[in-house]
Amino acid sequence: MATDNKYDRQLRLWGANGQRALAESHVLLLGAGPAGTETLKNLVLPGVGRFTVVDGATVSEADLGNNFFVRPEDVGRPRAAATAELLKELNPDVEGFHRVARPEEVVAAEPDFVASGFSLVIAAQLEPAALQALGERCWANNVPLIAIRAYGLLGVVRLQVRRLEVVESKPDNVAWDLRLAAPFPELEAAADALDLDGMADADHAHAPYVLVLAKLAKAWRVSHGGASPKTRAEKDEFRALVAGAARELPSKVPEMNFEEASNEAYRCWADPRELPWEAQAWIDDARAAPDAPSEGRRGSVGSEAAPAAPPSATHVAVASVAAFMDAHGGLPPLSGAVPDMHADTASFVALQKLYAARADADRAACLAIFAAKLAEATGAPPTADEAAALALVCKHVRDVKLVATRSLADELAAPNLGEAATALFETDDAREKAQAPVVWYAALRAADRFFVKRGAWPGADGADLAADAAAVADELRAFVTEADCADAFDGVLSEAHAKEIARFGAAELHAIAAVVGGVASQEAVKVLAKQYTPIDHTYLFNGIAATAAIIDV
């Protein structure tokens, strides 16, 4: 073995920041059936700090057939105790607690239990009324909630977050900020010093494209009254000018740095003031309300305002960036990162240092604003952690985003199903349409209605399958009619869907629970580490045809 760090393979994804956040978290699991324990397993393994399992069941024979965290000798013991023990055994770094109580009763009797120090609540297979109540308490207390469900061959992961501050969203394509359309003085000076005509061939073929573009763009602006290429014709002309500046070398090998310069020429007119809309939205929000973070994207029907909490250091950092931008003609602090490019070592390293120095200066200016804001609020200078939060925001200023989903209460009261359905029937094939995940979303809502009326799931042991299927079919029709989307489902939903729901009889198949546990734990890591982009808001896996979709109803 060449490493003694068991977390090596995941640190390459979420880094030390993500790992620290995970280790400082306390996750509450309500419901220790297979979907719940599989989710928790995938959080204990990577090193979540603490977990608490709440479950009221006693380990039964059926548990041995679908839950990995019980053993034959546990039959008759409280399931909360047995599963917590075996989950804890997976990783000595993790602390585990349990409480023997029915989650539904805890939600009813102690509505604010969820707000007693948990970073995240995972609700597995909760009954519909309890889930609704839990959703409201989590929303009111701004505690992220992941509701999960394995139902026959169907799996559901529902994320509810009211406001999540994500700085390291790690987009797939890095948007390098090279400032070619608004060069800073040190970049201009370096470009001016580049003597393209007088250079030896070898140096010419290794001049970094960034400097080549900076030089040619400046020459263009000088001859065009200070303006960058604007029209399509001007842009084409500039590209041709860049390509024409390449030398024909004796070796006949084309100059790769000039090829890069042609390809990247658009950077000379891409305005560095334009940020991705998510980043701009948060910056605008922080500028308007530096002390009182907004609610997130959407309000919720009849819900209370989140308790007044002081803004996080990250929010103050974003507000500081907003002030910096106002004082710098709308330019954000420079991130300082430079992509690899065809260049000789010395020129490339010099270029990297040029950008890093400018980024340091911008960050220092932001830090001064940040310190003043904190001093106003607390009277104290920034702590090391607060300064680190500011540095992180400056480095990832284009990637920051506020994540907020629709609330569970809104979804239950007024599902936007018609819209979702039309978008999700990607196909004209009737067989494929019948298996679109959104159809099964509707079918599960029908099963919930059935449960609310009868206190039992359709097709439970000993039930009359045909009668239950007919009742589910009625609920399904009523649901799509009330949701005002009967037309969208016309010809797609059939009696077969209702029969299938009855056949499932709320069976929890381990493989489906494991799919759910995988997706739910992945989303939990994103929420706890505040990295990547969490789902918005429901992931539905259809194990019949192995199709899946995100449903935002």
């Binding site: 024979e61 990995f68 997976l90 026959g152 381990h510």
Partner: protein
């Protein structure tokens, strides 16, 4: 005990296997289907790593009682963040036996039989005993071999029809990389196969040698230089043992010195390992998703209780979750599933050795390892046995025009495919000018 599974298997459905776009049989709800799973069906799991541990658990808790697992690796510390059948005390033990022992202890109704070794060490008779194979390997070579083995086990007549359907052993294959993964169903002789999609597994990324040697800019360039240039100079007779802390530390220190010389920042021990070992990030969650999707397909293929994945599911979890399910089409010149003979246009002056080189390596179409070539009448070049290798070696330096005629067919065998699998190429001579 399997009351949840029983509901699915003993109740009728409108969505049985026969209703899907990849129909493999007709579902008849009955307790016998359940009994087939719990007492007859034999499943082979290939790989006992991140996917394999999950697959074994998922199979056991779906009712499968007779499971075999094959893996050649031993347990490393860096496995412990996801390979949940292993503990710190197991580091150094074989994965297959440790995983089997854990499942056997936790799930008493299931018996897992372990095989420590490479998939290539087992023969056709070994693979023919299974009803289905579920693979979770990070190794493209082993998957290519396994795929062609399973395809070759389903014998076909002269018209290309399968002689005996019981010889068809479905292969359900999963793979992951960070937050991304894929699951697929391969029905030998019916669907596309692993080889059809070889292009979607690009060879390992490398840096151009001139950059590494002359204009290093990134820490990766310095690390590659230490590994590829400095190490062979210092230790001409020893290759790098990527599992040895001493070897890795040596490369790290040499790379660090080079980076200091060029004023390049960012060479760390962790990055050194990443580059030298070509480490792919891995997390518990993605492995859980992909494995469970695979086992759900195994369960449905063996019971016919629902439709099948037709044939490929892609999973991307970084930003939201994007899942795309589609039918991966057969590649019309796939060397395994296509009856079409590939025609290769070659110059008659091309040397046999050059032709063989062009079939090998990461950038070639066929990505072979060590091919042997014969025509209907003679051996052109054979790697084994030794005497034949010696006898045919001289051909490597001869032009093709001396060895074969225009439009001759040649048969190629290679270690990447099982012994009795070969592919046929037709060599067509180009005129000299075009070449």
């Amino acid at each position: 005990m399997y009351s949840n599974v029983d509901k699915l298997l003993t109740r009728p459905t409108s969505f049985g296997s026969e209703t899907g776009s990849l129909a493999v049989g007709e579902f008849e709800a009955s307790p016998e289907v359940r009994d087939f799973v719990t007492s007859e069906c034999k499943v082979l799991v290939v790989g006992a790593g991140g996917l394999g541990c999950e697959i074994l658990k998922d199979l056991a808790l779906s009712g499968f009682a007779d499971i075999h697992v094959i893996d050649m690796d031993t347990i490393d510390v860096s496995n412990l963040n996801r390979q949940f059948l292993f503990r710190a005390k197991d580091v150094g033990s074989p994965k297959a036996t440790t995983a089997a022992a854990f499942i056997n202890a936790r799930c008493p109704k299931t018996t897992v039989t372990a095989h420590v070794g490479k998939v290539q060490e087992k023969d056709g008779d070994f693979y023919a005993q299974f009803n289905v194979v579920c693979s979770g390997l990070d190794n493209v070579e082993a998957r290519r071999w396994l795929n062609s083995m399973l395809v070759s086990l389903a014998e076909v007549d002269d018209d290309g029809n399968v002689v005996d359907p019981s010889q068809i052993i479905p292969m359900v294959d999963g793979g992951t990389e960070g937050f991304r993964g894929q699951a697929r169903v391969i029905i030998p002789r019916f669907t596309s196969c692993f080889e059809c999609s070889l292009d979607s597994f690009p060879p390992q990324k490398t840096y151009p040698m001139c950059t590494i040697a002359e204009t290093p800019r990134l820490p990766e360039h310095c690390i590659s230089y230490a590994q590829l240039v400095e190490w062979p100079k210092a230790f001409p007779d020893k290759s790098v043992d990527t599992d040895s802390p001493e070897d890795m530390t040596w490369i790290f220190q040499v790379a660090e010195a080079r980076a200091r010389k060029f004023d390049i920042e960012g060479v760390t021990y962790m990055k050194t390992m990443g580059v030298v070992k070509n480490i792919i990030p891995a997390v518990a969650s993605t492995n859980a998703v992909v494995s469970a999707v695979c086992v759900n397909e195994v369960f449905k293929l063996m019971t016919l209780c629902s439709q099948s994945l037709n044939t490929y599911m892609m999973y991307m979890g970084n930003h939201g979750v994007y899942t795309h399910t589609f039918e991966y089409k057969k590649k019309d010149d796939c060397p395994i599933t296509s009856a079409r003979v590939r025609t290769l246009a070659v110059a008659p002056t091309m040397l046999l050795g050059t032709l063989i080189e062009s079939m090998c390596g990461p950038d070639s179409d066929l990505r072979l390892k060590a091919p042997s070539l014969t025509t209907a009448s003679q051996s052109l070049y054979m790697r084994k046995p030794k005497a034949l290798e010696a006898a045919t070696r001289a051909n490597l330096g001869k032009p093709l025009s001396e060895l074969v005629a225009d439009d001759d067919e040649i048969t190629v065998t290679d270690a990447i495919f099982p012994g009795d699998v070969s592919l046929t190429l037709k060599l067509s001579f180009e005129c000299e000018e075009a070449a």
